[in-house]
C-alpha cells in the first residue's frame, strides 16, 4: 500500500539448490523480493513452490545437501555467504522466525522460560536470571495466562496454540526488524489459528516490525497481508498489493489459485429420499491411562449420544476441531470401533453385528482416509491395492475380470489405467487420493465415509478431488459422510452439515442455513475463524 516505505530486505536472484542422488534439484530459481519496513508481505504458493526454502536459504538453515547463491541484503548487509558468527548476530535478533510445527519446534527437555531467555542472553548478554523479567513480560504480551507459573512449564505441558505463542514470544524477545512466519497456523485448529493470527497482527501494530507470512492459505493472505508474492516451482510469478492480486490477478497461475477455492453447492436429495444409514444414541468410550500396573484409569467419551441419519444420495458434512469426535463417529457408524447405540443400514439392523456379520456389508460401506501417503501400502502395486477388496467380496471373479474392473475404476477416478502396474510412491498426493478413492468405488459401495480426504492436499488439487467426488456421487448415486475441519470444502460438498464439539452435536441443519445463519455461538466462532478468500 505505502510504497514509500524503506526496503529493509532486498532479495536478488536468490537460488537454492539441493544435491540429491538423482542430480541437482533447484528449489528456488533466482527470485527477487523486497521487504519493506513494517509491512506484511505474504509469500503464497503450493507445496514445493520454494517459499519456505527461500527463507531457509537466506537464514542459513538449509539441510546439509542444500546451498544458496545470489543476494539477500538486510539493511545493506549481505546475508548470503555471511560467516556463521556474523550471521548469528542477525538471526534471532534482527530477523526472527516462527515455524509450522509448534509441537516440535521447541526443545522438549528445557522449560519454555529458559528457551525464550536463550536468544536474549545470547544477543544482549547478561544471565538467565536477569532475562527472567523480560521473559515474563513477553509471555504476558503473547497472552499466556498465569505467566508466572507457566514460565517453568515444559513444552509438552502446553497445547499447540500455546506453544506457538511461546515461539512468538521468542521471536519478539529482541525487538526484531523482520519476523518470518513460516505457515504459523497450518498445524492448528481454525479457532486457534484465528487467535494466533490476530495476535501477530496486534503485535505488529504495536511494535512495527515487518512480517513475512509464508502460507498456502489465500483466506489468511486476504485478511492479513498488505502485499503478496505468488510463488510457483521456485519462481515468483506475480507480486502486488493484496487488493490487486485478488481483484486483478495478472498471472494465469494466480487466477488458477484463486479459482481453486472450492465453490458450488450440492442440492438436497429431498425429504422423500429413503434413509440408507442411521445411528441412534451413538456413543464411543475410550479408556484412558490404566494398563497393567496403571494408577488410575478413566473413561473418555469420544462420541456422546449422537443421532445421525444419512439419506440416499445425500452428503452430510461433519465439521469440528481436532478432538471433537468427528472421525470416531464415522468409524462407529461403520462399526469399526466398539460403540453403543442403534445402527441401521438400509433395512438391516446392524447394532449387534460383529466383525464376521459385518464383512458381507463392508462392500457397500467404504472408508477413505486423510493421509494419502500412509494409507496405501508401499509394497503393493496400485492394481493390487485397488483390487484387494474384490478377493474378499467377489471371489468368483477371474483374473481378467478383476483387471477389467481395475481399469474401469482407474478411468473413473481419471487416472491412466497403466497406473495399476506402478507403485504408490510414484504418484503425487492428489493422485494417491484418487487411488484411495478407486479402491473404495471398485466395490460399487452405497455409502462412502470420507475422513478429511482433501486436508493433506494443495488447494488446486483439492478442487479436482472435490469435483471427482461430486461426479462419482452423481453417476453411482452414492451417499457420503464427509468429515472435515475445512469449512469451505464442507460448504462445497455437502447439503447437510453437522457441527461437533467435545463428542456432541452442537448444531445441525441444511448447509445454507448453517452457513448463512448459524444459531450457536460455537458455530459462529468457527465461521468467523475461517478466513474465506
Amino acid at each position: 500500500m505505502n510504497d514509500s516505505r524503506e526496503t529493509i530486505l532486498a532479495v536478488r536472484d536468490l537460488k537454492v539448490t539441493f544435491t540429491t542422488p538423482d542430480g541437482d534439484v533447484q528449489a528456488v530459481k533466482g527470485i527477487d523480493l523486497d521487504i519493506k519496513a513494517g509491512e506484511t508481505l505474504a509469500v503464497v504458493g503450493e507445496s514445493g513452490s520454494g517459499k519456505s526454502q527461500t527463507m531457509m536459504g537466506m537464514m542459513g538453515l538449509l539441510a546439509g545437501n542444500g546451498r544458496v547463491t545470489g543476494s539477500a541484503k538486510y539493511r545493506g548487509q549481505e546475508l548470503v555467504g555471511l560467516p556463521l558468527k556474523a550471521l548469528n548476530k542477525v538471526r534471532g535478533a534482527k530477523i526472527t522466525m516462527i515455524f509450522q510445527e509448534p509441537m516440535t519446534s521447541l526443545d522438549p527437555l528445557y522449560t519454555i522460560g529458559r528457551q525464550i531467555a536463550e536468544p536474549i542472553v545470547q544477543h544482549r548478554g547478561g544471565t538467565f536470571k536477569q532475562a527472567r523479567a523480560r521473559v515474563l513480560e513477553l509471555l504476558e504480551l503473547v497472552g499466556i495466562p498465569d505467566a508466572k507459573r507457566r514460565i517453568d512449564s515444559y513444552p509438552h505441558e502446553m497445547s499447540g496454540g500455546q506453544r506457538q505463542r511461546v515461539m512468538i514470544a521468542m521471536a519478539l524477545a529482541n525487538d526484531p526488524d523482520i519476523l518470518i512466519a513460516d505457515e504459523p497456523t497450518t498445524a492448528l485448529d481454525v479457532t486457534i489459528q484465528a487467535q494466533i493470527l490476530d495476535l501477530l497482527n496486534s503485535l505488529q501494530a504495536k511494535f512495527g516490525m515487518a512480517v513475512v507470512l509464508i502460507t498456502h492459505d489465500l483466506g489468511i493472505v486476504k485478511h492479513f497481508a498488505s502485499r503478496v508474492a505468488v510463488m510457483r516451482r521456485g519462481e515468483v510469478v506475480e507480486t502486488g498489493t493484496t487488493a490487486d492480486i485478488f481483484e486483478r490477478p495478472q498471472a494465469d497461475y494466480t487466477k488458477m489459485l484463486l479459482a481453486a477455492e472450492p465453490h458450488g453447492r450440492k442440492a438436497s436429495p429431498g425429504d422423500k429420499a429413503p434413509i440408507i444409514l442411521e445411528g441412534k444414541n451413538v456413543a464411543v468410550d475410550y479408556a484412558t491411562g490404566g494398563g497393567l500396573f496403571g494408577k488410575k484409569s478413566g473413561v473418555f467419551r469420544a462420541v456422546d449420544n449422537v443421532n445421525i441419519r444419512l439419506k440416499e444420495g445425500q452428503t452430510i458434512g461433519i465439521v469440528g476441531e481436532s478432538g471433537s469426535g468427528k472421525s470416531t463417529l464415522g468409524r462407529a457408524l461403520l462399526r469399526l470401533v466398539p460403540s453403543t447405540g442403534r445402527y441401521q443400514f438400509g433395512a438391516t439392523n446392524i447394532s449387534d453385528f460383529g466383525r464376521s456379520a459385518m464383512r458381507p456389508l463392508r462392500k457397500q460401506l467404504q472408508l477413505v482416509f486423510q493421509d494419502p501417503y500412509g494409507s496405501l501400502s508401499p509394497r503393493q502395486t496400485v492394481g493390487e491395492i485397488i483390487t484387494e477388496g474384490l478377493y474378499v467380496h467377489e471371489p468368483q471373479l477371474s483374473r481378467a475380470e478383476r483387471d477389467k474392473r481395475a481399469i474401469e475404476a482407474l478411468k473413473e477416478v481419471r487416472l491412466d489405467p497403466a497406473a495399476r502396474n506402478r507403485y504408490p510412491h510414484e504418484f503425487s498426493g492428489g493422485q494417491r487420493q484418487r487411488i484411495a478413492i478407486a479402491r473404495a468405488i471398485i466395490l460399487k459401495p452405497k455409502v462412502v465415509i470420507l475422513d478429511e480426504p482433501t486436508s493433506a492436499l494443495d488447494r488446486s488439487v483439492q478442487g479436482q478431488v472435490i469435483d471427482l467426488l461430486r461426479d462419482l456421487q452423481k453417476t453411482h448415486g452414492l451417499s457420503y459422510i464427509f468429515i472435515s475441519h475445512d469449512l469451505s470444502v464442507i460448504k462445497a460438498m455437502s447439503d447437510y452439515v453437522v457441527v461437533m464439539k467435545n463428542g456432541k452435536i452442537v448444531e445441525e441443519g441444511d448447509t445454507d442455513a448453517i452457513f448463512e445463519a448459524p444459531r450457536e455461538n460455537y458455530t459462529q466462532t468457527l465461521m468467523n475463524a475461517a478466513f474465506t478468500a
Partner: protein
Amino acid sequence: MISFVLRRLASAVPTLFIVVTISFFLMRFAPGGPFNLERPLPPQTMANLMATYHLDQPLWSQYVSYIGNAVTGDFGPSYVYKDNTVAELIGKGLPYSMELGFYALLLALVGGVLAGTIAALRQNSALDFLIMSVSTMGVTVPNFVVGPVLTLIFAITLSWLPAGSWGDGSLRFLILPMIALALPQLAVFARLTRGSMIEALHTDHIRTARAYGLPARTVVITHAMRAALLPVVSYLAPAAAALLTGSAVVETIFTIPGVGRYFVLGAINRDYTLVMGTVVLIAIFVIVFNLLVDILYGLLDPRVRHD
C-alpha cells in the same frame, strides 16, 4: 519420587525370586554334579558327601531350604572351594571386579560418547568412517583376542605395562585389563551416540536454536547432546551391571582375583551354590542399575519425570 523408588524396590523382590527359582532348577536339570570328578569317588564316600550337603534330599525340599537360607543372607558353602562359603568368595572377589569395572565403565562411557559425537558431527567424513570401523572391530573382536594382543604389544614387546595380576592395585596394573574390558562397551556407546546425535541434529528444535543465533557449540552441547544422551543412558544399566560384576575372560587372562571367573568355574564344576550366588549378585546389580538409570532418565527428560 520416593514412592517411585519404593515401588520399584518392592517389585524387585518377586523378580529376584523368579530368577533364583529358574536358575535353581535349570542348574539341577543339567547332567552331572559337584562331586562327579574325572576319577569316580567310591560309592560310600559319594553317599557321605551327598548327605553332608543334603543333596540326597528331594529336590523340592532342597529348594525350600535354599530359599529359606538365602533370605537370611546365607548362600551356603561352596562345594568346590570347600573351606569357603559363597558369601566369603564373592565378598573377597567383588571389590577387585568392581574397581576394575568402574574404570572400564568410565572409559567406555566417556570414550564412546566422545567418539560417537565427533563421528556424528563429521557425518560421512573419513574420520566418521574411521571411528565407526574401529567400533565395529570393538564389537566383533572378542576380548580373549584383544587381551593377549594388548599384552603382547604393551607388556611383552614394549615393556611399558605389567602383563597381569592385580599387583599393588595401582593404575599401571589396571590399564590393560581395563581397556580389554571396556572396548566392546565403548564401541556400543559410540554407535548409540552417533545414531542418536545425528537424529537429534535433524530435529525441528535444533533448527529453532540455530535460527535464533545460538553459537554452534551451544546448539550441540545444550540442545542436541542432551537429547542424544537419552538412549545412551538407557544402555548404561546393562553395561554397568555387566562390567561391575567382572568378566571371566578378562580376569582369567590378566589373573585378576575378581568374581567374574566364579560364574564360569561354578557352572563347569556344577558348584550349585556358587552359581546361584553369582546369579543373585548379577540380578541385584541389574535391578539396582536399572532403577538408578530410570531416575537419571527422569532428570534428563521432563516428559518421563517420576512423581
